[in-house]
Symmetry: C2
Subunit: 236 residues, 2 copies
DNA sequence: CCGGCAATTTGCGATAGCGCAAAACGGGCC
DNA sequence: GGCCCGTTTTGCGCTATCGCAAATTGCCGG
């Protein structure tokens, strides 16, 4: 297991306020690991023995009901933390994390957290900020699910993904990791069938170009219009 | 403005780990205020100059879209904090808070927070816990909205309210503050019409007894069954 | 290069829940 | 005690979206 270079993590929000030269101290507690595409990093309900920092790749967090339905909680991009159960007082992970791409993560033992917090009080504040942001995002999502129709929700979801992980091409913005219709359905509270129909429609209007687990926004601007459109407005 | 007795707040989660005798120091920064039923405590978008602790009454937090639709984010019960914008790094309140009952709140200036945190480091951790719990609740809500039908969602919402603010009667559990069909609709992502139809149905089956802004769960157990029922299961 | 599998597309009902509108109700205030 | 207004109920048609099923497609592994 290779040593992690402090410069890799120095700029991350979590470590704001921690002196770069102190980061070695943090890294001493950490190890890194590689997860191949589609491998599970941790499972919902498992003991939260570690928390994670994504260095490379993409991770999907999902939550499953007792009856087996699942939703995508979020996609993690490099630089973000995940599996923070312990920070909010949970002994088990509330969601499952899966690498959707070959991914490299920094693993910190949950047990080290209290020690780190004591040593670097700024960490708690940073963590609070992180969780707070996620809370807001959740509320936004609830608001959307309550007030918008499926097409608008899908538009919002794709725009968000594009902003988060978009790779600019000259003919549009490509979402930079494999994502299926089913995934999008689970992000927006609908079915893969409906997502497929919507994307087909958009494709024939030149709004997107998509294929197997691959989506390119060809005309982000018009998608923004779609996302903001009220149920009735606009021509046929 | 009356002095607040430390014993009133000593047991609150936010102050866990703070010595009771130190609470005076906190209270020196605070003032209390009374908000009559239906008055607005702060408005979404306003500068977050204070944060709040509910002492008596009930407060509803709502979030409104640019186009005017709104959802109920949560109901605050005595002992809980609200308006924590500053703790998560927001300069403006992300929601509106309204007293749904005559309510008494403890008001703490946002400006005092950094000072308090420095003095009582446990506060940050407590806050993290609080926000973390809310994040989880949000995720649960998203999961429900994604996977359950309206009737089940309403059942869950009522059960939660009953647990939070239920007053036990010998003939059931009454939700202890005024709540309209519209409110429930905004908690569950549906319309007041649908909620009304559902409650009417339940009433005729003896599950609830309800009236103007008033709901009594007559048969919580059967409502639990409803809440857990999968779309198809069970007889007509 | 081919077989097989997972992802996607699409057609075709079925329906839960919406939206509108109107009527009934209930309480508080004067 | 009666009036006024906000809340609730309910009928009725409509449609967005689901659910199922079958056909198609594109990849990956061998």
């Amino acid at each position: 297991m290779a040593k992690v270079d402090p410069s890799l993590i120095a700029h991350l929000p979590l470590f704001g306020g921690v002196k770069p030269e102190d980061l070695d101290e943090v890294l001493r507690e950490a190890r890194s690991a590689r997860y191949p595409k589609n491998s599970v990093i941790f499972e919902q309900g498992a003991d939260a023995q570690s928390f994670f920092l994504l260095l490379h790749g993409h991770v999907r967090a999902t939550k499953t009901t007792p009856t087996g339905e699942q939703i995508v909680v979020r996609y993690v991009v490099p630089g973000e933390t995940f599996g923070l159960a312990m920070a909010i007082g949970l002994a088990q992970y509330p969601a499952t994390a899966t690498a959707v791409d070959d991914s490299v993560v920094l693993i910190l033992p949950t047990a080290a957290w209290p020690r780190l917090v004591e040593r670097f009080p700024a960490l708690t504040a940073n963590m609070l900020q992180t969780i707070g942001t996620r809370l807001q995002e959740s509320h936004t999502r609830i608001l959307e699910m309550s007030t918008q129709q499926v097409e608008q929700r899908v538009a919002h979801a794709l725009l968000r993904l594009a902003k988060q992980s978009g790779k600019k091409l000259d003919h549009g913005i490509e979402i930079d990791f494999p994502i299926s219709r089913q995934d999008i359905a689970q992000m927006t509270g609908t079915t893969l069938h409906t997502v497929s129909r919507i994307l087909s429609g958009w494709e024939s209007q030149g709004l997107v170009e998509s294929g197997r687990q691959r989506i390119i926004l060809r005309d982000p601007h018009r998608i923004v219009l779609l996302a903001e459109r009220t149920a009735d407005s606009g021509p046929a």
